[in-house]
Symmetry: C2
Subunit: 189 residues, 2 copies
DNA sequence: TTTCAAATCTAGCGCTTGCTTGGTTTTTGG
DNA sequence: CCAAAAACCAAGCAAGCGCTAGATTTGAAA
């Protein structure tokens, strides 16, 4: 196998792993559980991944890539700070709640990553946060919001990320409703 | 041993366990690591706790009790909704960042609890959230904030809980600064 | 049809895990 | 000072863990 294999089969396996890691946590999910859910024997898993930790890394990486792509698309063509903020919040909630498995894993399980995997993922996360920071900086500079800019970013992302703890997809509120509500709460009616 | 032993020794052990669980996660922390850090042999651990999971439960329980106590104290004597909100936010950040170990564990590791432990802790959490809900309801009813009330509570607690991910105790901002900043962000200057 | 790599299986190794048991030391209350 | 209780230790068991090695099957290209 190649080190960073991106075959279709591998993507499928990663999605299955994401579900199990999300449901039971990384450490409690054994390679045998993963293999069972994938319909193969545990030994065969190591044809696709060098070790268990690599599966975890792949899950988180897929989630982050998807978040980045959707955020970029959402901002395309928008110039007004207020609209950009609201679009970014909608995009964030959209990935967060659609690719929920991967994102829950990313939020909960990064401590099980090797330093090497971690540094790759931290780079991705930093790039994503920079996107947010620019949008928030614009809101502050045009006087739409007041306050310490990095702090606002952290509060906003905290409020949004926390939704995975309580959001019910079968409920009445859509992710877009939530994004709108957050905008209103911080004065971006 | 009694089932819910609350001896001083046990409290010490729970605090040590909180540190290890916070640093490495519950599943990655072995009973041997715990025993080493406590200065005893791994077998002796089971004189104080029936099983490993009970240690986790005790860690979270201690954290929640402390949060509840501090919140009650903070609200005592305050009647103005705005002041009550800000006091509650200060209290929340104060426990969150002082008893950080226990609270990080509570946020990250509840999936490793048995159903029995979980139901006890969920009751405590619900009571705590009710405290927040009342304060927020007052703010909305007196026109200080606008929006869906449970949603505001969730956004606020999300923003606050997320601080454990990035807050640096050696930095320039105090927990009180953060509480103040959150208040300003949602229009409670 | 032959070839060859990718994908899978079979079988199990070496190690760690949570936890138990039975005995010893330390602490404490009368 | 002494007995009972609490705390601890030494030794190890049974189960499960991540992972490996070598053989076998599958599937597409030549």
């Amino acid at each position: 196998m190649t080190l960073t294999n991106n075959s279709k089969r591998r993507k499928e396996l990663v999605a299955i792993a994401a579900r199990l890691f999300c449901e039971q946590g990384y450490e409690r999910t054994t390679v045998r559980m993963l293999a069972d859910a994938m319909g193969i024997k545990s030994g065969s898993l190591f044809h696709h991944f060098n070790d268990k930790q690599e599966i975890l890394c792949a899950v988180i990486q897929d989630g982050m890539e998807s978040a980045m792509t959707i955020a970029d698309q959402a901002l395309e063509g928008l110039t007004q700070p207020k609209e950009r903020f609201k679009a970014l919040a909608r995009a964030h909630l959209s990935t967060l709640l659609n690719d929920r498995n991967a994102h829950v894993v990313a939020l909960y399980e990064w401590r099980s990553l090797t330093d090497e995997s971690l540094s790759v993922l931290i780079d991705m996360r930093d790039r994503y946060e920079q996107l947010w920071q620019q949008v928030i900086d614009d809101c502050v500079e045009t006087g739409l919001i007041k306050g310490d800019q990095p702090l606002i970013r952290r509060f906003a992302l905290g409020a949004l990320n926390w939704t995975v703890q309580w959001y019910d997809a079968d409920g009445e509120k859509t992710p877009d409703d939530l994004a709108q509500a957050l905008g209103e709460l911080i004065g971006l009616g």
